[in-house]
Every structure is written in structure tokens, then in C-alpha cells.
Amino acid sequence: MNAIFSLVAVIVIIAAAFLGASIPRLDFLFGVVFPYAAITVFLAGIIYRVIKWSASPVPFHIPTVAGQQKSLPWIKDSPLESPHNTWGVIGRMALEILFFRSLFRNTKMEMKSGPKLVYGSSKYLWLGAIAFHWSMLIIVLRHLRLFMQPIPSFVLGLDSLDGFFQVGLPGLYITDVLILIALSYLILRRLTVRRIRYFSLASDYFPLFLLFSIAGTGVLMRYFYRIDLVNVKELAVGLFSFHPAVPQGTGVLFYVHLFLVCTLLAYFPFSKLMHMPGIFLSPTRNLANNSRMKRHVNTWNHPVRVHTYEEYEDEFREKMREAGLPLDKE
């Protein structure tokens, strides 16, 4: 049901763009107004949410580690798995952000005949995730060739690296293949594994379908129903240099692609996709495991009025003496 709802939502967005961009005078809306609006919502939404997050204190020192803490000199510590200083934290965060270290440790639990409980490593989710995220990053960077004029050389380098196999004309990008396979896997995983389908919400399926349709329309435009890229670049550079002008004859498919991207940008700050900034603000990852070297004071601590034993004894000294109780001070 959640999956169907998300699928219908994405189809409605595609249909809206198809119909809207077919109407001649609406291309300014789809080509200029929506992109600017989406970028504004994206930036403002992320800034708003990150500042809101930063307003919450981190009351406890809670790094979740998978290694030996630094302690006595003869006990070997693991500086990356259980970092005790900032450099270790940076290394650990880099491993997490660039290589999804914690997902790599994913395990599965199975009941075999016997009955026997078996634990094993499960790398498919890691593989699908890393293939998707890296493809996505490279695809976004590759798009800079249509956004920037003159084109920075690193973009051209990335482009030729991605088209390394020189299959067909226009050349096949490795990331185009990878992102479609990875997204298909991530969608099928949610749909076919019963446990995962049980707790999957519409907000889990929707980004997947949205990203798949963005990649899909991109692939269609490059390999099957080609569009005039010079027009696309004129539009993009016009937008980025605040001289928006909508060239004629770019094709409806392009506007569908653009509208889907606008939807993604505008949806981003309100969705689970906020794990992008969120990973940097995870207290279980970005704190050093140095609780034995440094005293961490709860920022939430309220000044509590306490009644110490000395004060107690002062108050009841006479009564305690009469009752024959031992006293610290006579």
C-alpha cells in the first residue's frame, strides 16, 4: 500500500510535468520558476533544520564504538574504531561517509535446520548503497558541464573517466548503469524481503521511486530520445547567472527530468534524505571515545540543591549523639 501510494505520487508528478510542459506558455514556469523555488526551499530547509538540530544539546557522551578504547599504554587501542582525539574522529567519520563503514558491518541472522541460529555477514545492502551514492555523486558532478561555462577541467576528466569503456555513441556512462541497477536492488529489497516491507513507509519508497525516475529520464534523454543539449546548457547557465531565458524546442522529456529534480530538491529538507547533513551531526559517530580522559558535563544539568552528609550531621548532631550513633565530627 505504501509502495503503491509512492508510485502513484511519482506518476502524478511525471504526468503533471508532461502536461504542463506541453502547454507552450508554461515552459517559463517549469524552466525557471520551479528550479529557483526548489533551490530556495532546498537551501533554506536544510539550514533551518540543521540550526534546529544544533539547538538541542547532547546531554550524554555516547559514541558507539566497535573497538578498544585508549586506556593503559600496553593495551592496544583501535584509533579509528574507537577514536580518542579529533583526528581519530575525522578518520572514523571519513570512513563512514565515504565508505559506509557501519553498513559494511551489517550482519544477518538465520535459523537453520537443527534448529540452529546462524549469524553471517550481509554485504548486499552496503554494495547497493555504495553503488548508488557514489554514482549519484559522480552524476551530479558530471552535470556541472551543463551548468558551468567555461567547463572546469576536473568535470571533463570525470566525464571521460565515467565514459571509459567508450561503448556506443553517445558513450555509455558506467554510473548510469550502476545507479539503475543499485536503485532497482534497493527498491526490490524493500518490496521482496517481508521484514523490510513490513516497516517500510511511503516516505521510504517515495525517494527511491523519485530517484529512479530521475535517473530513468536522464538515461532516456541520453541514449534513446535525445534532446538538444545546447538548449539545455543555455537554460542552465541562464538560470545560474540570473539571466533566465527559456530556449524553444528542448523537448518535454527534459522538463519532466527537471521537474522531478525540482521535486527532489524541494522534498529533501522534509524527508529521510536529511541523513546527508545528519551524518555529520550524529553524536554516536562524531564524539571521541575519551570519557576516561575527560570529564563530560551534561549541558542539560540543572543546578540541584543538595543536602550533604556534613550538613545532615550538623543538623541532627545532638539527636544522633543521644541515640548513640557514630559521628564524623564530635
Partner: protein, 164 residues
Amino acid sequence: MYDCGKIIAGLVIFVGLFTSPFWYDLSSSTALQTPNPVLPTKADQNECVASLEFMRRDHMALLNEWRTEVVRDGITYYRSANGREFEMRYTKTCLGCHPDPSQFCDQCHNYIGVSLYCWDCHNKPALQRQGPQLAEILSPKSEILNKHQMQNPKQLKLMFSHRR
């Protein structure tokens, strides 16, 4: 706000990176320059092998198709939509009307960052190597171009040298 410095620094980096195309294009003097391919002016060169829209979008696929048909199927002539026949040869048919690639092909290719790898293996058209002033000498009717198109002995030798 806790860790104010780090949060602000992170947000500034993020916003800076995300909006970098804006800064880049706003500070670039050539951002709004659009490609300006030089079109043939001669009276007999007013018709391409396909429509303008098709050529703009799909010329690379057409060239790829021609390559397959010429090299693998031995078909050397292409009948256009309005019945005209063209020889399927880049150097003769394409360069015949657009003799200087730097004035035509490269205009859009450079603009959208398409780098061709044809000349990694193939002999670069003489025109491009020696400059546009040779365009007249090597016009499609001239024999020099046709002769050049034939593999010169050196190329032939190279072609067969690895087969031993």
C-alpha cells in the same frame, strides 16, 4: 545553539559548494556566450542528410549507424528522407559542407563538454590539421581529399603490421 562555530562553518561550506555554479557563472565573462557554428553558404549546400532538429539531437547516432553500415554491411550510400542519395563518408559528405570542424563541430562540442575520441586512432582530417585556408584546395570535388581518404602506404603498413 551548541557548537556554534562548527555548525556555521559546516553550513557555509555546504551552501558555498551547492551554489558554486551561481558564483562560477556570475564571475565568468564567457558564461552567456552561446556556440556559433558556421553554416555553409553555397547554393548547392543548402540541404543536410536529415532535418535540422534531427541532426542537432541525433547526428552522433547517425554517424555510428553509418559506421556500422559501411564497415560491417558494405552499404556506402544513404538515402535521405526526401530521396537524395549521399555517400556515407564523414570526410567527404560531412566535411564537404562543413570543411572546418573547429568552426562547426567544435563550437557546440566544446560548449557542452563533448570530447571526441575519433582522432585517437584515425587520421585527423587534413583540413583541421593544416588550417581552414586549405578548404578551397581540398573541396569535395577536389581529388586531393579523395586521395587522402584512401589509406596512405604508411597507414596500410600500420594496419597490417600487428597481424603477423
